[in-house]
């Protein structure tokens, strides 16, 4: 593995860390007060910094360092995670993402963007000390800050630190300061090959130590897990270095140990005869560096005081502690189990390998279908054993296919998280207040679909903030909350993923859309359009209602492009809007782009596949239901409504004259905008799962045809692009390339 590969892995991990960072910050923003959330956020930044340092990415390191320092203040409760601070942090997360991307792709992030944030972060880290103990809660509305840090499982409580009586009996050397370090390793620390002895020895190189080992967690020898972690330490460090230096001594241990560093001596904890110290009330052992190298020397003072104290400490009176230790142990084990189940094991696999596997499984499906067909064709005496075996093979193939597809399935969460940033940026640019609410982020969909929805989604989100939501003033005037809500949700519905973007803005201004459409010549002034049809005009190519082309939406990309890219994915998009209440954009996409359930039909001696998801129902038209309308239009009456009849063979230029509807079958399909069309085909062959083979990749794009597949008999069948056919039926003929498709 060369350096570039390692670097690539680092950037992949960065992406995960950035996602973790953002989701953590958003949780904090939503009032999450769990210290683990702060830890997770801190860890994310710290990991990025660590990796970046290894690769010499200095810009990234220096920014991450400042960010980390501020986060550390929050982590140690010195700084309140106020909404303002979280805003700064969210922006910092964005910049960190940009810096990461710049480091990977070789770009550059403007220093103006980083320097401002660096200053803000530093101001927070320096300027806002922890509120004094006993400060009124009212002055401190954030629950995160007012809740004392929970006691960790070794019974350490945050000890209020007071400067009174500071260093009463010991003079601290000039220019030196005193820190109190509480260090409690977890068994993971040892399991990963770290050694508490070495860590404390490293610490001893920084300054003079007084080490106090707390052994109250230590069970009796029968209950002891030799690979467990029972000791914890209270260490007084007198040094001329800063807190950062101490932290660095523990740099590789901090995820596997509880480490708390506080400025000042914690004489109380050292002297406290009860609680944790009760069982080992030994005097702190003065420790000097000479001990590391020289002959064993124990200072007289310590040696003299020890025997008596140790005897008192270790008397049998401490036995109840064993019970406590067992309870603590059980609790800890349970906690470990929970932590393990929360983090499933994963491996990283090159996407190409998965794709190759998927392709092979596709071939397997085709092959299995071919085998089934030849068995049917050569059926002689119909051996039930063969049929049974074939059925089992079919089942297995299906299962393999589902499992392989599941490998590619990914939650939409990363894409949704990216939208948070888009919303923040646009909200800043337009001076709007927007809250993004996401739902169903864990809904899974094929990786290719995820990769491809990011762009249309981004555009729709921009659009929703820019056009959908009103300014705070307008909202207040309309009696709404000044902060607009944008709801982004994902869910599975009948084998597809449905993504909704709902805003609580003003809704579509239909008069303006209509006016604009007339102005642009999209409709005639006397057109009689339903509300829904007007709403759908915004998907028309080149349609934009923004009076001035703004920086945000006016990038030459209209909703028509959004619609086209979604259609290219085999998806649909629709809009519903209520004046004054807001709009909802609904995208429905296939879960995978590799297979599809289709209905195999015959049209003018050609075999076509119609995606099953598009079909509402199939019916056999009767003569009395068919009505002519104009020279070439025909309608079919279905349960008291009329529905346009579309001759697929004619639209695709398979035949020039219209087929006899009564001789064929009608497939009732749903088109976008909700209207229904009856597609005329000659016959239905059956329903089966087909493997999608891209026409674009193997041949060229063919209007009216979405893709191709190979059937069981080895023939190629085209997969119908239902929406394109419906649009063509409205009078916009498919391009002349169609003739080619028909013959090819």
């Amino acid at each position: 593995m060369d350096m570039n590969e390692i670097k690539e892995i680092f950037f992949q991990e960065c992406e995960e860390q950035l996602a973790e960072l953002e989701s953590g910050l958003l949780r904090l923003n939503d009032g999450d007060t769990d210290p683990e959330t702060v830890n997770a956020v801190f860890r994310a930044v710290h990991s990025i910094k660590g990796g970046a340092g290894a690769f010499g990415l200095d810009d990234l390191v220096s920014f991450a360092h400042v960010f980390e320092t501020t986060l550390d203040c929050v982590r140690s409760n010195k700084l309140e995670a106020s909404p303002d601070l979280l805003k700064v942090m969210l922006r910092s997360a964005d910049v960190l993402a940009d810096l990461t991307a710049a480091s990977r792709d070789g770009g550059k992030v403007e220093t103006s963007r980083t320097s401002g944030l660096v200053a803000e972060l530093e101001a927070y880290a320096k300027g806002q000390p922890r509120p004094a103990a006993g400060a009124p809660v009212a002055a401190n509305p954030d629950p995160a800050a007012s809740t004392p840090a929970p006691a960790d499982d070794n019974g350490f409580e945050p000890v209020p630190f007071s400067f009174d009586g500071f260093d009463d009996d010991e003079a601290v050397g000039e220019g030196r300061s005193v820190f109190t370090v509480r260090f409690k390793p977890r068994s993971d620390l040892y399991a990963k090959g770290n050694e508490a002895v070495l860590l404390i020895r490293d610490l001893a190189k920084i300054g003079e130590l007084q080490v106090h080992c707390q052994v109250d967690q230590l069970p009796s020898i029968d209950l002891l897990d030799p690979e467990g972690a029972y000791f914890s330490w209270l260490i007084r460090v007198e040094t001329d270095k800063d807190e950062e230096a101490i932290r660095q001594a523990f740099e590789f241990a901090e995820w596997d140990a509880e480490i708390e560093i506080t400025a000042g001596a914690d004489d109380e904890a050292f002297a406290d005869p009860d609680a944790s110290a009760a069982d080992q009330p030994m005097a702190p052992v003065p420790f000097d560096l000479n001990l590391l190298d020289d002959l064993p020397v124990v200072s007289d003072e310590a040696a003299a005081s020890e025997p008596a104290m140790a005897e008192a400490a270790l008397a049998p009176a401490n036995l109840p502690l064993a019970a406590k230790a067992i309870a603590a142990e059980v609790e800890k084990k349970e906690a470990t189990v929970a932590a393990v189940s929360a983090a499933p094991q994963t491996i990283r696999v090159d996407l190409d390998r998965v794709d190759r596997l998927i392709n092979l499984v596709g071939e397997l499906v085709i092959n299995q279908a071919m085998l089934a067909q030849s068995v049917v064709e050569n059926e002689s005496g119909s051996s039930s054993a063969i049929n049974l075996g074939l059925e089992e093979l079919q089942q297995l193939t299906r299962e393999i296919q589902d499992s392989v597809m599941a490998i590619r399935a990914q939650p939409v969460k990363p894409v949704f998280q990216r939208m948070g940033r888009i919303v923040r940026e646009i909200a800043d640019m337009t001076n709007k207040q927007v809250r993004l609410v996401t739902e169903g982020e864990n809904t899974e969909v094929d990786k290719t679909v995820i990769d491809k929805i990011a762009e249309p989604l981004t555009h729709m989100i921009r659009n929703a903030v820019d056009h959908g939501l009103e300014t705070p003033e307008k909202r207040t005037a309309a009696g709404k909350n000044a902060e607009g809500v944008l709801r982004l949700s994902a869910k599975h519905r009948s084998g597809r993923i449905v993504i909704e973007i709902a805003d609580d803005g003003a809704g579509i201004d239909r008069d303006r859309v209509r006016f604009k459409a007339i102005e642009n010549g999209l409709i005639t002034p006397d057109s009689n359009l339903s509300d829904e049809e007007i709403d759908n005009l915004i998907f028309h190519p080149g349609f934009s209602t923004a009076d001035k082309i703004s920086d945000i939406s006016g990038r030459g990309v209209g909703m028509d492009v959004v619609k086209r890219s979604i259609q290219a994915l085999g998806g649909r998009i629709s809009i519903t809007s209520r004046p004054g209440k807001g709009s909802v954009f609904t995208m429905s996409l296939p879960l995978t782009l590799a297979v599809l359930d289709g209905m195999v039909v015959t049209v003018a001696n050609q075999t076509l596949v119609v995606p099953l998801t598009a079909i509402v129902e199939t019916l056999q038209p009767e003569k009395k239901d068919i009505h002519s309308f104009g020279p070439s239009q025909r309608l079919i009456a279905i349960r008291e409504t009329f529905c346009p009849l579309v001759d697929v063979g004619n639209i695709l230029n398979f035949r020039s004259d219209l087929a006899d509807p009564v001789a064929g079958v009608a497939l009732l399909v749903e088109s976008e905008g909700g209207g229904q069309r009856a597609l005329m085909v000659d016959a239905i062959q059956g329903q089966r799962q087909v493997v999608i083979k891209s026409l674009e990749a193997n041949y060229t794009n063919v209007p009216g045809i979405a893709a191709a597949t190979i059937l069981g008999d080895g023939r190629v069948a085209l997969i119908l692009d239902v929406d394109a056919v419906v649009i063509a039926s409205r009078g916009q003929p498919l391009s002349s390339e169609m003739a080619l498709a028909a013959t090819g």
């Binding site: 009796s220 690979e227 270790l314």
Partner: protein, 99 residues
């Protein structure tokens, strides 16, 4: 401390008592439960926190059961580590260092 009069068993500690040695040490100590033990730590050149946990737990357990458990001889490294870790249990510190 009471004792049954027989001479204590001697457990000689290996040179290296690192993370990998803790389980073995635990087994060895457990096997001697119920008997007085003298620990010989004179060969120890390296000792980790986990082995110290085993030894201290043993010392406390033996004491609670009124049995004898003490480090008779200890290397410099052993004593240095005890000091570094802030452990000052008399059973683990050989008398000679206390003097």
């Amino acid at each position: 401390m009471a004792s049954d009069g027989t001479s204590p068993k001697v457990l000689k500690l290996p040179e290296v008592l690192d993370l990998n040695a803790a389980s073995r040490l635990h087994e060895q100590v457990l096997a001697l439960k119920g008997e007085d033990i003298d620990i010989d730590a004179s060969d120890v050149s390296r000792v980790g926190a986990q082995c110290m946990q085993v030894l201290l737990s043993a010392a406390m357990t033996w004491r609670a059961e009124d049995q004898n458990f003490k480090v008779e001889k200890a290397s410099d490294a052993f004593v240095k580590t005890l000091n570094l870790l802030g452990i000052s249990d008399e059973a683990l510190l050989p008398m000679e260092t206390l003097k």
